[in-house]
């Protein structure tokens, strides 16, 4: 029992979390105090450090809210409200996650198709690769509003344009990983397929594709996280009505820092869930494939 506790990551993780929370509380006092002290002096109220600390952790619009304020807000907006309510974080989270997943699906598929093209067609290898790399040097924050507005003008609104931004971000690691993965088979395995006179499709499905699986999952784990970022960025411009990005935006309009922070934490929890889900799928698949792949 003690041994298991020692070997598990529980203790190190909770120590780090405790440390972060400690710094956070201290930071909340430090960052919020100038506003509070200024207010005390204008209202000529007596104050000491204890009062400052209590007020700093209970402001309505703090510079940095204390963790318990965020938790209280998350509790209110996740558990206390009906999930269909416009003020429920579950509702906004769902909006974001659905476009994340659609975008991830499109991006992963596009990434794989591009990688197959690059590996099999030498012309594509030389002509497309530079464009793929160039595509990622454009700041997504700059191009996102143009995609939203552009697609909106031809009647595409809602989930689809946001998914396109997700897909735009997340195809890249898949392409890079899969090009490497599809080229990873041992020369000896390629020779073996040649002695069997295997067709291109046999070589692809029986050798190249299975050899690339570890590379695929490494890429998908990165992709699904940035796909979420893409969806949130897609919700920022053009006054999106719903989604975590919209919550961030309205929060910053009205100085609702607590609302911003709870949307942020909600987003990072979602990202963690998505990545862990990917890791779980990876484990199952690799176990079926012999469980000793690196």
């Amino acid at each position: 029992m003690i041994r298991r506790l020692r070997d598990s990551s529980l203790i190190p993780v909770s120590v780090v979390v405790a440390f972060i929370i400690l710094i956070w509380y201290a930071g909340a006092v430090y960052l919020n105090s100038p506003v509070l002290i200024d207010r005390y002096e204008r209202q000529k109220t007596e104050w000491n450090f204890e009062k400052l600390r209590q007020d700093a952790w209970a402001m309505e619009r703090p510079i940095l809210p204390a963790p318990h304020q965020i938790l209280k807000d998350m509790n209110k907006s996740i558990l206390q409200r009906k999930v269909t309510s416009k003020r429920s974080l579950v509702y906004h989270g769902w909006v974001t996650i659905s476009s994340t997943l659609v975008g991830f699906g499109i991006g992963a598929l596009l990434g794989i198709v591009l990688a197959v093209g690059i590996v099999y067609i030498p012309t594509l290898n030389r002509s497309v690769m530079p464009w793929i790399i160039a595509s990622q040097t454009i700041p997504i924050l700059a191009i996102a509003p143009m995609i939203i507005v552009g697609l909106g003008s031809i009647g595409l609104t809602g989930l689809f344009p946001k998914s396109i931004i997700s897909a735009y971000l997340c195809f890249f690691p898949v392409t890079i990983g899969m090009v490497k993965g599809l080229r990873s088979p041992d020369p000896i395995h390629m020779d073996l397929m040649k002695t069997y006179c295997a067709s291109d499709s046999h070589t692809f499905f029986k050798l190249r594709w299975p050899s690339s699986t570890p590379f695929l999952f490494a890429s998908l784990k990165v992709s699904i996280a940035i796909s979420l970022v893409g969806a949130i960025v897609g919700e920022l411009p053009a006054g999106a009505q719903a989604g975590l990005g919209a919550r961030l935006l309205t929060g910053s309009y009205y100085g609702q820092t607590i609302q911003i922070w709870s949307a942020l934490i909600c987003a990072s929890i979602l990202a963690a869930i998505l990545v862990f889900l990917m890791i779980a799928i990876e484990k199952i698949v690799l176990k079926k494939m012999g469980g000793r792949l690196v």
């Binding site: 041992d186 000896i188 395995h189 020779d191 073996l192 397929m193 040649k194 002695t195 069997y196 006179c197 295997a198 067709s199 046999h202 029986k206 050798l207 299975p210 699986t213 494939m289 012999g290 469980g291 000793r292 792949l293």
Partner: protein, 266 residues
């Protein structure tokens, strides 16, 4: 088998004036030069020589994995490419070259799947060839769960599943320790006596070549060429004990002399 006939039909491999030059960045490498060779059907023939003598290259030319730059070669009466298209040979590599994501059974079925053989027949043949290498009961194991010797046996079984007329083996036991190697040599000889397929076997071990082969081709490097062909008349039902006999030592001595004549010890 019509042993008297000397036509291309009776020979498994026939090479005339075979030449192969690899173009590398600094200087061309003459891998094979003036190679003339006839391999009869049912022969167990070994290529022996130091590394760089072109023995693996010659095997790869027979398998159509390399193209000769001069001369002609016929495999099973046709060109190496046609022989490959007819799936006339099984190739065993220096490493087992098993797919790590397939079980032993899955690996054995791989060539059969590619050749479009139906599922029931695939299972039957996989079982049969696994029995040939004494690995029954290991069907569901993955390659990493097997020892190196067992993996190499699976790789031999894989080459036997589609019953090719010709077995090309590139130092198949080279990476194994001597104890396992001896064991596999003896086992493989028994297997060959049973099915009498033509085997072309690359090795750099004199005892292995002498023990297994009906004919030993001694090769020498720079440029890769054939020095001598030595016929062996060891009895067919030999065991490892034969290596203590004068006949065996004499054969080994002749191989060693051949290698020395080719300046292979330089």
């Amino acid at each position: 088998m019509s042993a008297a006939s000397t036509s291309a039909e009776a020979n498994a491999v026939e090479a005339k004036n075979l030449d192969l030059v690899f173009q590398t960045r600094d200087s061309p490498i003459h891998a094979l030069s003036e190679v003339n060779l006839e391999i009869r059907r049912g022969d167990f023939i070994s290529f022996i020589g130091p590394s760089g003598c072109g023995k693996t290259t010659l095997l790869r030319v027979i398998a159509d994995l390399e193209k000769p730059t001069g001369g002609s070669i016929v495999v099973n009466g046709v060109s190496p490419e046609q022989a490959r298209l007819q799936r006339a040979y099984g190739y065993v590599f220096q490493s087992p070259a098993l797919f790590p994501w397939r079980t032993v059974e899955g690996n054995l079925k791989l060539p059969l799947e590619i050749m479009g053989i139906d599922a029931a027949e695939r299972t039957r043949r996989a079982k049969e060839s696994l029995k040939m290498v004494n690995l029954e009961g290991f069907e569901k194991k993955f390659p990493w769960q097997l020892s190196g010797g067992m993996q190499q046996r699976v790789s031999i079984a894989r080459a036997l599943t589609f019953d090719p007329e010709l077995l090309l083996m590139d130092e198949p036991f080279g990476a194994l320790d001597e104890i396992v190697r001896d064991q596999l040599n003896e086992h493989f000889l028994r297997l060959w006596e049973k099915n009498r397929k033509t085997v072309v076997f690359v090795t750099h071990s004199i005892p292995e070549a002498a023990y297994l082969s009906t004919r030993i081709v001694v090769m020498s490097p720079r440029p890769g060429r054939i020095i001598e062909c030595i016929d062996s008349d060891l009895p067919p039902d030999r065991t490892l004990d034969i290596r203590e006999t004068p006949e065996f030592l004499d054969l080994s001595h002749r191989i060693r002399e051949g290698l020395r004549a080719g300046h292979s010890y330089d």
